[in-house]
Each structure stands twice: as structure tokens, then as C-alpha cells.
């Protein structure tokens, strides 16, 4: 019998602020332990939290980008539990009155085509610190640099039906959040974390099965792997007549397996109540409208626009909008006067390769425009232009034409020089010439290649072929006489 998988995701993203959620400490990643701390995030007696307006703005922006309803009044609440990385003994979060509810994400799921996944809520909270187990032998150390970092928690409806869909949801979510400029969404730096809830049921069953929570996945690929493993575990449990228990599981990327945590997390009673140190967060409808208006073009809209405005194939538009920077670069190259499809080919080719390597665009779009211009004017072959591009990415301030000159790549389209090479090739290959004249026309490519070889690649191929045609015709005429 078959099983249906039901998955819901809780994603924590770090909001891209300079300072923490409730105090003025920096949010820089990778600083020495306990250097970005103060009385507020250390939970010292008498310290009080003051909300970071920029964090609220970014969270609102994220919620708007996900189509959520923003609540004009939301309430910070204390989530109470004891843990050494939690300085106050409670985390400031939001509970029954979150910042935003009721959004959705639409994306291509693969198996089910285009699907819409509900977003239950988005709320703001502070991060806890980190326990370091490998710093001092036999001891656990506490680093509170992360304590108080602003987070948005984004909770999906249990609308996902496979581990692959979960992964696609995450990619789409990340793309939108990066576009909206609210988070770096880097799993390596902990600015995006995923907890997954998964259960199984018989197809057609409307009730949800008992869910397990899977944590500790450090990449989207591992979210998919972990969920595959947990789905298999649940199916084999149920098929051997055992119930699924509500557990929290940790994924081990090394073994590819999930294992229950030792702590009894499921028995936690967090005793949420409104934080009396923080008045309810009130946002005016005018301010919310302002944030909505300031929202940048989001991936779906940009993809559609690129397709329509530049007559690009869907595939090209999808690749170019995978990151906002890439699309922006593409549009700048077009602006520099390049034909859109040619620009798209360049950006999806050499430009993307260097961008992926370096995380930046070494060649300014105007320079790339100049380079492509040399090709379209016949001054440079496409192959030669790729070499010039490689050179330019090392010395970005150089003029493309000067680089081509320096490398000796400038094309020769001068009739006299071209005729010289063509004549040399014809007299050097009498056998091929007679075969050509006997109808083996595909040898034209051979002759062009030979001319390029003799010219060391400098001959303009567009000028070479007509000349060859002409000379070969003349040869035929003189032979038939």
C-alpha cells in the first residue's frame, strides 16, 4: 500500500541588521566568543530590552514578500525554559499575536506541477547563544555572541507532500528573502535554519498522522535526505505494526540517518505570556503601505518581465533571476547596447562562472558591452572574445579593444590579407579542392578551418567563406576551360 507524506517547515532566518534585536551589540558573524555582548543580551539584573526598529522593518518586508497579512498590533511574549545558552531563562518571541499571518509561496514542485504552499505565520524573536563542546576538554563553554540576534520564524502549513517539495519550498523561500534584502539566508553561517515536521498517512485520509520533528540539517540537500530517511523510518514502523511516536530527531549528515534526541523536548511547557518589558508592537497602516510600496521586484515578477521585455526563453529568464544580482547585471549589459539574447548567453556562460567563483562581477557591464560590440562588428571572433573576457576579469580597468590587440586577437577582415590566406589554402590542398568541385560541399568547413589556422585565428570567418566560394568557383571555371 502507498503512503502520503505530509511535511511542514519552520524556518528561522537572521534579519540583516547591524545590531541585535533588543540591544546595540553588533551582529557580525565569526567574532571571538562573547565579544558582542552587553548587559541586555547577557540578561544582567536590571537590564531591559528595547526593540530594534530595523529588525521590525525587515521582518515586515519579509512578511509582505510572502503575501502575509501584517497585524497592526503584535505582542512580544516570553518563552520560558532553562538552558545554559539562554541568559534570561526565557526567549523573547511572539506567540498568540504574531507580526504576520496567512501568506503563501507558489513554486514548481516537480511531481505536482505548480503548487501553492500556505504560510501560517511569521513572527520576530531573538536568538539564543551557542554551546561549544570542543573548546575545553571535558567542559562545555557558552558563547553569547548570537544571543539576541534578530530572527524571523516562518512557519508553513503542512502542505508539502515530499522531501523534494520541501527542498523546492526552501529554495523558493530563500530566493524571495534574498530578493527582499531581509536576510543573507546562509545555512553555513547559521542565518537560515530549518526544522521539519513530517508525518505519513494513507492517501485520501484527511487526518494528520503523528508527526516527528527533524532538526540539524545544514543544507537544503540534507533537509531532503533527512526527510527521506525519516519517511522511510515511519513507513517501516507503521508497516511492522508499531505506532509513530511524537519525537524530535537529529539528522546525522555522515550516516544519513536520523536519531531521537536524548532531551525530553516534547514535555516542554514554555509558559508563554506577554513580555511586560515591551509594550505591544503597533504599526500604522500607512507605514505598512510604505513598506509594501518599497518592496523590490520579486523573483516571479522579474522572471515574467524578463521573458516579456527581452523576448527571452523561459529557461534563460529563470537562470538570470536565480539571484537578483545576476538579473541586474544582465539588464545593465542590455542597457550598454547589447542584444538581449546575446547578453543572456554571455551572462549565463562566462559571467556566471566567474560570479560563482568570486561572488562578484569583476568585469563591469559597460566593458562587457564594449567587448560584445567588438564581436558584432567583426573585429573579434567569439572564441577570441572569451579569451579577452578571461583577461579582463583579471585586469578589469583595461579597454577590451586594447586587450584584444595586446593578445593579438583582433580579427582581420581586410580583403587582401584574407585573399592571400585563401589562395594559400587552395593551392595547398588540390585533392580536397577537386573533391569539393565534384560535389563534396561539406568540405567548405575544412577550408574555413584551414584559413583560420593559417591566420592563427585572426581571419574574420564571416569574410572568409564568401572569398573561398568565389576562389573555388574561379578554380572550377579555369579547369573546365
Amino acid at each position: 500500500m502507498s503512503w502520503e507524506t505530509v511535511i511542514g517547515l519552520e524556518v528561522h532566518v537572521q534579519l540583516r541588521t547591524r545590531t541585535k534585536m533588543f540591544c546595540g551589540d553588533r551582529t557580525t558573524f565569526g567574532d571571538p566568543p562573547n565579544t558582542n555582548v552587553c548587559p541586555v543580551c547577557l540578561g544582567l539584573p536590571g537590564a531591559l530590552p528595547v526593540p530594534n526598529a530595523e529588525a521590525i522593518r525587515l521582518a515586515t518586508r519579509a512578511a509582505l514578500a510572502l503575501g502575509c497579512t501584517i497585524h497592526e498590533t503584535s505582542v512580544f511574549a516570553r518563552k520560558n525554559y532553562f538552558y545554559p545558552d539562554l541568559p534570561k531563562g526565557y526567549q523573547i518571541s511572539q506567540f498568540d499575536k504574531p507580526l504576520a499571518t496567512g501568506g503563501s509561496l507558489t513554486f514548481d514542485s516537480g511531481e505536482r506541477g505548480r503548487i501553492r504552499v500556505g504560510i501560517t505565520r511569521l513572527h520576530v524573536e531573538e536568538d539564543a547563544g551557542k554551546l561549544l563542546h570542543d573548546r575545553f576538554p571535558g567542559k562545555t563553554a557558552v558563547d553569547l555572541n548570537r544571543a539576541g540576534i534578530p530572527l524571523a520564524e516562518i512557519v508553513s502549513e503542512p502542505d508539502l507532500r515530499s522531501p523534494a517539495e520541501a527542498r523546492a519550498y526552501l529554495s523558493t523561500l530563500r530566493q524571495i528573502l534574498v530578493y527582499a534584502g531581509v536576510s543573507d539566508c546562509s545555512m553555513e553561517q547559521g542565518s537560515l535554519r530549518v526544522d521539519a515536521n513530517i508525518s505519513i498517512r494513507r492517501p485520501g485520509d484527511s487526518r494528520l498522522g503523528t508527526k516527528a520533528e527533524v532538526k540539524n540539517m545544514n543544507s537544503f540537500a540534507n533537509v531532503e535526505r533527512a526527510l527521506e530517511a525519516e519517511r522511510a523510518r515511519q513507513i517501516s514502523l507503521v508497516e511492522s505494526g508499531n505506532p509513530v511516536e511524537q519525537v524530535t530527531l537529529l539528522f546525522n549528515a555522515g550516516t544519513g540517518q536520523v536519531k531521537p534526541t536524548r532531551s525530553k523536548e516534547e514535555s516542554h511547557d514554555y509558559r508563554y505570556f506577554p513580555d511586560p518589558d515591551l509594550p505591544p508592537l503597533t504599526l500604522t497602516s500607512a507605514w505598512i503601505a510604505e513598506q509594501r510600496a518599497a518592496l523590490p521586484e520579486l523573483p516571479d515578477a522579474k522572471r515574467g518581465r524578463l521573458e516579456a521585455e527581452y523576448a527571452l526563453p523561459t529557461y534563460d529568464a529563470r537562470v538570470l533571476t536565480s539571484e537578483p544580482e545576476l538579473a541586474h547585471y544582465f539588464e545593465s549589459v542590455v542597457q550598454a547596447g547589447v542584444d538581449p539574447k546575446t547578453a543572456a548567453n554571455w551572462v549565463m556562460g562566462d559571467v556566471m562562472t566567474t560570479y560563482n567563483e568570486r561572488g562578484a562581477f569583476p568585469v563591469a557591464p559597460e566593458r562587457l558591452g564594449q567587448l560584445i560590440g567588438l564581436v558584432s562588428r567583426g573585429a573579434l571572433s567569439h572564441q577570441a572574445a572569451k579569451r579577452v573576457y578571461g583577461e579582463l576579469s583579471k585586469t578589469p580597468t583595461d579597454d577590451p579593444a586594447a586587450v584584444a590587440e595586446r593578445l593579438g586577437l583582433t580579427q582581420v577582415s581586410d580583403q587582401g590579407a584574407l585573399t592571400g590566406w585563401v589562395d594559400q589554402v587552395i593551392s595547398a590542398h588540390p585533392g580536397e579542392v577537386s573533391r569539393f568541385l565534384n560535389g563534396e560541399t561539406k568540405l567548405m568547413a575544412f577550408f574555413v578551418g584551414q584559413v583560420m589556422k593559417r591566420s592563427k585565428g585572426k581571419a574574420d570567418p564571416k569574410g572568409v567563406q564568401p572569398l573561398l566560394q568565389e576562389r573555388l568557383r574561379q578554380t572550377a571555371e579555369s579547369e573546365s576551360r
Binding site: 539584573p45 536590571g46 534570561k88 505570556f273 513580555d275 518589558d277 515591551l278
Partner: protein, 466 residues
């Protein structure tokens, strides 16, 4: 006590040191030193314009943090903790010329009504050492009552300044919630906590409150209103309507308290006030409501004392983190604090939240609505006894927490409503001071203190009432 009058802060500091030493038997202080007093005096004397509190020595309840001295909250759990920052009120007192160098004893974490629940011993009543000074700010109250200081800071969550002010025969002002920054006040019940002021006179206390009031960017719950001004005492109460809430004058009220209030009401009438009986029916539920909300907030606020980062750390028998928590908190907190943490944890627990915490919040709104409605009906101020009895004997209520809690029956509704109120001396009964409480609408401190100063003049504070 003004520096300009007595010839410089330095001599006041010396004199204060002598008085503190003489009052040692009260056990009212936890930390003070002549060196620090003298340093404060030098700082004040060097100020180009010392400000409204020039040379005034002040004590802080030991739940207000300073960088020079430990802040213990009267608890073992903080050990010898010294704060790396000063409370906002400390900065404000100092820039106004106040000398801040004395930390006063208190009930542990401000939980108590007698200052018997301090880990560092009980505070004695300055008039009768066998009695309690009230609490939880008993140390500050005793220092002002004993004539050591003209004013001192305490804190209120459920009457912890007005009640000891009443017991000790001094003035105690609790401002509106949000009027004074809580930044640097160690939290107990954050939605109720107010730094409050003791003074020998309404004027002294008012001057101090004026200096410490006003918004603070470090406390999101302060209200954006300018600092309170010190009002001139009214020469007449003509045009003023004083409400007497009948629930605050029960038939079994202590005879001395009843007599003192009657005398106060007569004086008010003579001064031209119109007296009107009113009703605040939901105040009857204030004590149980308070003992749900305050412990709930306290349970969360006190979770940070876990032995991980500062203060007391006891490893415990098992050597793991739970054992450390259990040992540190089990031995670091006193019985009353543990009782309230347990109550607070219980009322927020799944399945009990609606029945206790949510219900208490609803009742809290009803209590506040009673006050709002009464003030809206043309009543300017309310007049009540501050406490049902004069100071009781030490040990009298320690075995019965509920009896102790009821000592705050007339003061804690005002904390739940967030209103300003003052307790002023209303004479003595069998030698023990009685306090009268005046209550004003939110942020009407100036009206409150102008009337209080007029009544203070009309009643001889140390006279026996009959």
C-alpha cells in the same frame, strides 16, 4: 540638609556617616562606606551647578544597581554581584547633585511586607525594635524615619514603599507606572514595578521624584511625558473633591487607623475639600489578582539566576547542569522567593493559564476601570488608609503568608491600576505611626502632591490620635 546651607557636601557626608553608624542596630543598610560618601561629596562640591538635590544624601534600595557597590536584592543568590552599569535613576540623582553611596536592606527580591525576608537579617522599626518597619523597602523607610537621611529610593510592586512609609511615619510616593525608568531596577513584577521615593516631607520626596522622572530610551515602558514638577502646597482644598472608597474603610479597621483617617478627613473638609463616598468594588480582588500576576512575572524574571554567568554557583551532587540549577536556586533563594516562583510557574502552566493568569489580567482591567470611572465622575483624588493596622511585631505574620499579603490590601490595587499615590503621616496610635493614602489619576502627580503637602501641614505627624 541642603549643601549650600550646611556649608558643602563634604560636611553633610561626614554627618551622614555618623548617623549611619549610630543607626547600625536597625540593620537598615547593606553597603555603605565613609570613603564612598566622601567621594560623592567631592564630586558634588566640584560640580559647577550642583542642581536641585545639591548635597542631598540618598539611600537606594539594594535592588537598584550601581557600579561602586554590590547589588544583592537581599538575596544570597546574587553573591557579591556588582553591576557593570548604573541605573538610570542613579545617573539622574547624581547629575542633580545627590550623593548616592548607601544601599538599603530589603525583603529578598522585594518579596515581603515586613523586611523580615532578607538573607542579611531583618530590619528593625526605628520606634520599636520589636516591630517591623514594613516592606519590602523597609531599610530605606527606616533610614528616613530614623533621621539618617532626608530621602531614599525604594521600589514598589504591590505597595512596598507606601506600606513601610505608613508603618514608619514618613512620606512615600509611588509614581504612575511609566513615569520613572526601571532601567537598573532588578525586575520582580515588570508590569507593576515602580521605583518610588521616601521623604521626611512631601516636598523632599517630591523633589527627588521630579529629578528621577521622565522618559528613558533604555526602558520601552516609560511614557513620553516631561519630568514631574514639584508643586507648591495648596493653601486651600476648595474646589477639590476627595473620594472615600467604602471598600477601603471596612468595619473591622484598626481603631487607631480609623481615628487617624477620620481626623484627616475632618482636616480636609476644614480646608475646603468636598468629601464624597465612592465605591471601588473590584479592589476586593486586588490581593489575589496581585498574587497571580506578580509571581508569574517574577518566575520569569528570576529565571536568570541560574549559576551560569554570575552570582552564586553551587555545583550540586550530580555535576550536570540540572544539578547546578537545582543546588544554586534551591539554596540561593529564600523560602518566600521560592514560594512565589512556584506559584508563578503554576499559574502560567498549560491547562492553568486561562483559569489563573488570563483571569487575573481580566480582573486587573476591572480594578483599573473602577478607578477610571470614579475619577471620571468628578472625583479629583481618593483618600484611604495606607494599611489596615500600624506596624506589627516581628514574627507575627511570618508563619502565615496570606496574613502577610493582606498587609498590602489597600496599597496593591493602585499598583495593578498603575496610578500615582502617596502615603503621608496621619498621626500616631499608641505611639505607632499611621499613614493616610491619597490616590490620583494617572500622571496627575502634581495634583496629588500639592494636596498631600496641604494635608501634611494640617496634621501633626507625631501627635497621638483618638
Amino acid at each position: 540638609m541642603n549643601g549650600a546651607v550646611l556649608g558643602g557636601a563634604a560636611s553633610i557626608a561626614q554627618e551622614t556617616g555618623k548617623r549611619l553608624a549610630a543607626a547600625e542596630s536597625l540593620n537598615a543598610t547593606l553597603h555603605w562606606s565613609q570613603d564612598l560618601l566622601d567621594a560623592e561629596a567631592r564630586r558634588v562640591d566640584a560640580m559647577p551647578s550642583p542642581g536641585p538635590l545639591a548635597g542631598m544624601p540618598l539611600a537606594l534600595k539594594d535592588n537598584i544597581v550601581t557600579v561602586e557597590q554590590p547589588t544583592t536584592c537581599g538575596s544570597r543568590i546574587l553573591g557579591d554581584y556588582v553591576s557593570p552599569f548604573n541605573a538610570t535613576v542613579v545617573e539622574r540623582l547624581r547629575s542633580a547633585g545627590g550623593m548616592v553611596a548607601i544601599k538599603a536592606n530589603m525583603d529578598e527580591f522585594a518579596m515581603g511586607s515586613s523586611t523580615e525576608h532578607s538573607a542579611f537579617g531583618r530590619v528593625r522599626h526605628p520606634i520599636d525594635p520589636s516591630r517591623v518597619p514594613g516592606g519590602s523597602s523597609g531599610g530605606s523607610a527606616a533610614l528616613v524615619a530614623a533621621g539618617v537621611l532626608p530621602a531614599a529610593l525604594g521600589s514598589e510592586t504591590g505597595g512596598s514603599v507606601r506600606q513601610p512609609a505608613s508603618f514608619c511615619g514618613v512620606v512615600g510616593i509611588k509614581p504612575s507606572y511609566g513615569r520613572v525608568s526601571r532601567f537598573g531596577l532588578v525586575a520582580f513584577g515588570s508590569s507593576l514595578d515602580c521605583i518610588s521615593v521616601f521623604g521626611r516631607t512631601v516636598k523632599d520626596a517630591g523633589r527627588v521624584l521630579s529629578v528621577i522622572s521622565g522618559p528613558d530610551p533604555f526602558d520601552a515602558t516609560t511614557v513620553d511625558r516631561p519630568p514631574m514638577r514639584v508643586p507648591e502646597p495648596l493653601s486651600s482644598l476648595r474646589g477639590l473633591t476627595l473620594g472615600l472608597p467604602r471598600e477601603y474603610f471596612p468595619s473591622d479597621l484598626h481603631a487607631g487607623v480609623a481615628a487617624a483617617l477620620k481626623a484627616m478627613i475632618d482636616r480636609a473638609r476644614e480646608l475646603g475639600a468636598e468629601i464624597r463616598e465612592v465605591s471601588l468594588p473590584h479592589s476586593a480582588y486586588a490581593v489575589p489578582t496581585y498574587y497571580i500576576i506578580a509571581p508569574a512575572e517574577a518566575a520569569a524574571n528570576l529565571a536568570r539566576y541560574d549559576g551560569v554567568r554570575y552570582g552564586l554557583r553551587l555545583i550540586g551532587p550530580d555535576g550536570d547542569i540540572r544539578s547546578l540549577y537545582r543546588a544554586t536556586r534551591g539554596q540561593g533563594f529564600g523560602a518566600e522567593v521560592q514560594r512565589r516562583i512556584l506559584v508563578g510557574t503554576y499559574v502560567l502552566s498549560a491547562g492553568y493559564y486561562d483559569a489563573y493568569y488570563r483571569k487575573a489580567q481580566q480582573v486587573r482591567s476591572l480594578i483599573a476601570d473602577d478607578f477610571r470611572r470614579t475619577f471620571a465622575s468628578g472625583v479629583d483624588l481618593l483618600l484611604t488608609p495606607t494599611t489596615p493596622t500600624p506596624a506589627f511585631r516581628s514574627g507575627e505574620k511570618t508563619a502565615d503568608p496570606v496574613a502577610m499579603y493582606l498587609a498590602d490590601i489597600f496599597v496593591c490595587p493602585i499598583n495593578l491600576a498603575g496610578l500615582p499615590a502617596v502615603s503621608i503621616p496621619a498621626g500616631r496610635s499608641e505611639g505607632l505611626p499611621i499613614g493616610a493614602q491619597l490616590i490620583a489619576p494617572a500622571f496627575e502627580e502634581e495634583r496629588l502632591l500639592a494636596a498631600a503637602a496641604a494635608l501634611e501641614r494640617a496634621i501633626p505627624a507625631e501627635a497621638e490620635v483618638r
